[in-house]
């Protein structure tokens, strides 16, 4: 038996057979900077993501100051931002730059790269039983393209005319014409270049994840024995690989329109009294290209959180995930439907009503696999023996937020209702809960759960519990009342509501939301502190399988070297969710089947 496993390992991993002994000389550069170890690359993604999250979160606190206290001045802002915050009150142009960068940073740099970049890199090889990614070199490049994209985006914050300020969706003509907004000058070019680099990074990563999952599974690890984390990361990668190139094409065409006089997205424009020669383009075309990525993108963000929550809920309920095949099937259904619903972002663009109706049907269909997932999570908890580790709490929080935010999607996906709710605070509440905060919860759950595997230490529990409770209460306090603002028709992306008869009645509420937002942000800093502090001073992990989990990453040593397993790669005999089966609390995947055991149960 063992000779077979060795053969298998040697067969696939000859390329870096020497690496997994871990004793050859590693320099600081090769270990921490240009590392080809998937675990180190995962940590690089995570730390970069955390830095971006602090910046992006900070931006939201600053623009919430304007929304919550529109008449107040904060001289400290002028000290930091100079003419962008003259007299301590941020300028409208700066407000829109902050809003735009908040969205861009959190959607792409944190919840795409920081979330799936981290956990796809970290978990895929460990959970499928591989020594590393299919191509460690491309994997390293994936991080460094992301890093370069980050540098370009970061530098755009410092150009004189400011960073992009047309919203994270960068709709032309606003984003195409420097005359329309100062953020559409050099800041927009940098945004597009950064995004192009980001897409390259995402493609390199995605292709690697897919080929690793398809080709490098250890012996016995059939697709239907994969943990749900791996399935979710697989579909995430497929979504990214098929949809990001479309955004790349949109970005390139937009660069042409901006700099080379083409008219892909421009027609019939008079700006500042200047008559532009562009004719025949369509501003709506860009929206199709953007949302063809943009909608799968929200599932790129959400699926890894779903997968990790499934895994963590099952481990900590000490019960098999309920309906494994249904969970995989619903992930698959969501991934397919994700490509067929993009125009529901465009119901009010003058879209053909019949075409709109098709998108309504397909959009609301997504609620079916989503409902399956929710009920399966609930049934997994039912009659379990639940341990509330911080990771588990965040996974439960994820389910709660996914329900709350998912249900409001049924309003927005129904075009008739969208006519009134489109681009109001109802939308803000919806997507922040279901995709923003929920995915963050999935990410936190993942960090708390796999931190012991990443660093060989635990995070501090007390800080973790405080982090969870303040964050979930705060998230609901911030976003729940926003539904009511939306039902009053209050539009998003307004700098000031005090001149509007219809919207000014929410002044007190906006102040409350801003106040809570600051507290929640401060609590995230507590998490960041816990993260870095525990890396060096946290309680040491003493058992190689601290949660009593079945998946293969817990069969590695506490601090696995490059190559993950010092000896042979373990062979797999069963699915990942044999908890409470045959009277045993848990049965790791590499445990051979017993005498009378039935094998795969799904």
């Amino acid at each position: 038996m063992s000779s077979v496993a060795t053969l298998h390992g040697a067969d696939v991993h000859t390329g870096h057979d020497d690496a997994h002994h871990g004793h050859h000389h590693e320099t600081f550069i090769s270990k921490y900077v240009f590392s080809q170890d998937h675990k180190m690359i995962a940590k690089q993604f995570l730390v970069t993501g955390i830095i971006w999250a602090i910046i992006g979160g900070m931006f939201s606190v600053i623009f919430r100051l304007q929304l919550g206290y529109p008449d107040a001045t904060f001289p400290i802002l002028e000290d930091f931002f100079g003419h962008w915050a003259k007299g301590g009150r941020i300028e409208p142009e700066f407000y829109y730059a902050l809003v735009t960068m908040h969205g861009t940073i959190l959607v792409f740099f944190v919840l795409t790269a920081g979330l799936s970049g981290t956990f796809a890199n970290f978990l895929i090889p460990l959970q499928v039983g591989a020594r590393d990614m299919a191509s460690p070199m491309l994997n390293m490049l994936s991080y460094w393209f992301f890093f370069t994209a980050s540098i370009v985006m970061f530098s755009s914050l410092f150009v004189q005319t400011g960073p992009a300020s047309g919203g994270w969706t960068i709709y032309p003509p606003l984003s195409a014409l420097g005359d329309a907004s100062s953020g559409s000058k050099i800041g927009m070019d940098l945004w597009l270049v950064s995004m192009a680099l980001f897409i390259v990074s995402s493609l390199l990563g995605g292709l690697n994840y897919i080929s690793t999952i398809l080709n490098l599974r250890t012996k016995g690890m059939s697709m239907t024995r994969l943990p749900l984390t791996v399935w979710s990361l697989f579909f995430t990668a497929v979504l990214g690989v098929l949809s990001f190139p479309v955004l790349l094409s949109g970005a390139i065409l937009l660069l042409f329109d901006r700099n080379m006089g083409t008219s892909f997205f421009l027609s019939d424009i008079v700006i500042n009294g200047k008559i532009l020669p562009n004719e025949g383009g369509s501003a709506i075309l860009f929206q199709h290209l953007f949302w063809f990525l943009g909608h799968p993108e929200v599932y790129i963000i959400l699926l890894p959180a779903m997968g990790m929550s499934s895994e963590i809920i099952s481990v900590n309920s000490r019960k098999p995930i309920f309906g494994y095949m249904a969970m995989v099937g619903s992930l698959f259904a969501i991934a397919i439907l994700a490509f067929l619903v993009w125009a529901h972002h465009m119901f009010v663009t003058g879209l053909n009503p019949f075409l709109g109706s098709v998108f309504v049907l397909l959009t609301l269909l997504i609620a079916v696999p989503s409902a399956i997932k929710v009920f399966n999570w609930l049934t997994t908890l039912w009659r379990g023996s639940i341990r509330f580790t911080p990771g588990m709490l965040f996974a439960i929080g994820f389910v709660s937020l996914f329900i709350s935010g998912g249900l409001t999607g049924i309003f927005l996906g129904n075009s008739g209702l969208d006519l009134h709710l489109h681009d109001t605070y109802f939308v803000i509440a919806h997507f922040h809960i279901v995709m923003g905060v929920a995915s963050f919860f999935g990410m936190f759950a993942g960090v708390y759960h796999w931190y012991p595997k990443m660093f060989g230490r635990y995070l501090n529990n007390t800080m973790a519990y405080i982090h969870f409770w303040v964050t979930i209460i705060g998230a609901y306090l911030i976003f729940w009342p926003m539904h009511y603002e939306g039902l009053a028709g209050m539009p998003r992306r307004y700098y000031d509501y005090s001149n509007w008869q219809s919207f000014k009645q929410f002044g007190g509420l906006n102040e409350f939301i801003s106040f809570v937002a600051m507290i929640v942000f401060a609590t995230q800093l507590l998490f960041v502190f816990n993260f870095f502090y525990s890396m060096f001073k946290g309680r040491k992990v003493t058992s190689s399988n601290p949660w009593g989990a079945n998946t293969l990453e817990w069969t590695t040593p506490i601090n696995p070297g490059h190559g993950n397993w010092p000896g042979e790669i373990p062979e797999v005999y069963r699915g990942a969710y044999d908890y409470a089966k045959d009277g045993r609390e848990f049965t790791p995947q590499n445990t051979p089947l017993g005498e009378n055991e039935s094998g795969d149960h799904h």
Partner: protein
């Protein structure tokens, strides 16, 4: 100084939390980690239950505070928007039901099935019956919601009634322009390349249909109880004609005209008493990010009785005459003489 104190206070709280966190870790080592873990488990299970209870109270309290501030209690101000309100309440009932069932299930199960001595997890890997149940029921409910939702959608996005009053709405950074077709009921042709000077909309005045067109800015007037069709465009970037009271919204896209129509139910004056707000105005909000003045792109719709509307319309001078003052019959000496003569003869006739 105040900010500095706040930052210092924040840092202090931070240090305190950190010290407590650190101390509790030592205590747990002393007490035995397993014992502490179980204690934490009980506390968190209890907190989850508390979160459910206070969360449900919070949902009720939030509704109590803010429902009155939404547009729902005053109802739709357009005939077509009534369908929106109805559809909204139906969706609230369906999703609300699911919301309460699943949230209560989630937190109650978490509390009820917390780890307890002597209790083991129940092996339950799947059940085709249950899974079919929660696949088909949502699917059926959603089909109903889709069908009813689309009925409303096709009604409001369908063609406006033939007798609808047509108003052309044009958005630009950062304001609204309105053009009425005048007595001939035909809007004159436009070409954006003709934009310039006083002709801010690029109207082609060689087209005679344009000669009686009326152009006003920022505030539009429409009569109550009559369908109004908006033909929407934009000059520079994408804007959006948001009409929250009428439950409608439509983008204004440069180069691609769009339309929307509705039938206002109440005049502005009626709304002042209905909402109890003496300053009430129907507002057009720009709902598509359009640049630094986006938040100030406010238009006003005055809904009035047909008589008031006709009177207002009669007072407006066609744009053709405001731009080409020499063509204005009021400015032409001989014409003035003619009209005076006509008026005199009218008065004479009436007296007879």
């Amino acid at each position: 100084m105040k900010e500095f104190l706040l930052v210092a206070l924040g840092a202090l709280v931070f240090v305190v939390v950190f010290q407590i966190a650190k101390a509790s870790e030592y205590v747990s080592v002393l007490k035995g980690e397993e014992k502490t873990r179980r204690q934490n488990n009980r506390i968190n299970a209890f907190l989850l239950l508390g979160f459910l209870v206070f969360g449900l109270i919070g949902v009720w309290y939030c509704n109590d505070l803010y429902y009155g501030k939404t547009l729902l209690p005053q109802g739709s101000a357009s005939v077509e928007g009534e369908g929106w309100d109805w559809m909204f309440y139906l969706t609230i009932i369906c999703t609300g039901l699911v919301f309460f069932i699943t949230q209560i299930g989630l937190f109650w199960f978490s509390y009820k099935y917390q780890e307890q001595d002597g209790k083991k997890a129940y092996y339950f890997a799947h059940s085709t019956k249950l899974e079919l149940l929660w696949t088909t029921v949502p699917a059926i409910v959603l089909c109903v919601l889709v069908a009813l939702g689309l009925r409303h959608w096709f009604k409001v996005t369908g063609d406006a009634p033939k007798d609808a009053i047509v108003v052309e709405v044009t958005g630009h950074q950062f304001g609204w322009e309105f053009r009425y077709p005048g007595a001939d009921k035909v809007l004159g042709r436009k070409d954006y390349k003709l934009t310039g000077g006083a002709n801010s909309l690029g109207v082609d005045f060689n087209d005679e249909a344009s000669h009686d067109d009326i152009h006003v800015s920022q505030t539009m007037h429409i009569p109550v109880g009559v369908p109004v069709k908006m033909v929407i465009g934009a000059q520079d970037v994408i804007h959006d004609v948001g009409l929250p009271h009428f439950r409608l919204k439509m983008d204004a896209v440069p180069g691609i005209p769009t339309t929307q129509w509705f039938t206002p139910k109440y005049t502005t004056e009626e709304m002042k008493t209905r909402t109890g707000n003496p300053d009430f105005e129907y507002e057009i909000s720009c709902d598509q990010m359009c640049g630094k003045g986006h938040f100030s792109m406010r238009g006003v719709i005055i809904v009035e009785t047909m008589a008031e509307y006709k009177k207002w319309l009669a007072q407006q001078k066609p744009e053709y005459y405001t731009i080409y003052k020499d063509k204005d019959p009021d400015n032409q000496k001989p014409a003035t003489g003619d009209t005076t003569a006509m008026k005199i003869s009218q008065v004479v006739n009436e007296k007879k």
